[in-house]
Symmetry: C2
Subunit: 244 residues, 2 copies
Amino acid sequence: MNSIEHSPLARKLSAFATLSKDELAVLTQLHQRRKTFAAGCDLVHQGQPGQAAYILASGWACSYKIQPEGSRQIVDFQIPGDFLGLRSVLLRTSDHSIEPVVEIEAAEVMADDLLGAFADTPRLAAAILWAASRDEAMVVEHLVGLGRRDADARMAHFLLELGARLAFVGLGSKEGYACPLTQYHLADALGLTAVHVNRVLRQLRERKLVTFREGHVKFGDIDRLMEMADFDPAYLDQTGPLLK
Amino acid sequence: MNSIEHSPLARKLSAFATLSKDELAVLTQLHQRRKTFAAGCDLVHQGQPGQAAYILASGWACSYKIQPEGSRQIVDFQIPGDFLGLRSVLLRTSDHSIEPVVEIEAAEVMADDLLGAFADTPRLAAAILWAASRDEAMVVEHLVGLGRRDADARMAHFLLELGARLAFVGLGSKEGYACPLTQYHLADALGLTAVHVNRVLRQLRERKLVTFREGHVKFGDIDRLMEMADFDPAYLDQTGPLLK
């Protein structure tokens, strides 16, 4: 049986709080309305009101904003256990779009479900605010990357962050991870052209730091890569429960 | 008497939910431990554990990250009614620093205060998650600014966002607002040099769109400025209570 304790979201929240039976039961409720979405078909729409949020069960998605002249800025990628559009369910109008990178399975969560869960289990509310804080800390790192890191360090930081997040929910290791992103995804996330992404990846590969090829990221020398990117995973806050 | 309903935080949260007497009482509790902090002395420290959060009662602050080589990326500015370091109280280690831009008054909030408030008033928990979502939406806009907007549009968007936020808590109008920021603050927030900031501000002034001089931002032609920056304030979600 695939019990809720082993769901990616429960694994992730356990870094913040050891969840009780009641809290796990509420989490099971929130996972009820499972749906499948095809790659490339937006499930949250920038500028539209009354959007639901989703808990991603399997697959990868990305959140992005389209600029008026048509360029796209990817804000973040979501992996299993992440909320999709948590901001959109509380803000009246969604400020961004979310697109599945591959076919995904996700559970729909409405504003009322969330408010009900908050009323029943305040610790779960705190855990969800923690998860939102962690998401925001990632966006802040991406902002610092765009504002202050050169292309090599930006790419290295990005690949290391994904690795740490995936390892935490059991989808990767210090060796590497399966990664369905294209060079266009990387370009839109890192503010680079696809040609520039290609060049940066080649340099990292030639320096034997990390290889991204055929849907797989493989770390060569993770310690040197972390040093080069000045990557400190503290902002991911993955070191065991704060609330027992 | 300066009642809690008129505090900037209560005014802001009222955009999300009409707060009950009990909820306002909990908010009063959270405002108890008021402290004064001098300009330039960090009150939250990047990389340190066990940080408190604060509710800003008066003055301006900024959150920032220092890069290893010493450059600074300002993530956001906080104005009265904003939380300072809400992320830091839930994440074990603060991922950023917070510095008062001028002398500020702020109420200290510990993790336990917040968890207690969540247990007593789940709607207030939802309102605080809403405020955190709104903060994240602002960081996302800043990321899009760095990644996709030219310097003029980036500056215009930034001055308009501050204006909308300040007007909402009664500290500005469509005419303009008092602004204690220096060109160095603007440079560190917008990823520009101080010389570039100076040039961009001169151009905006010469085009009669907006003037920033002697601590005051004065809008010349706000409609044209909004069009130029493609500024849509929907992400600030300021249009009246969602929960009655």
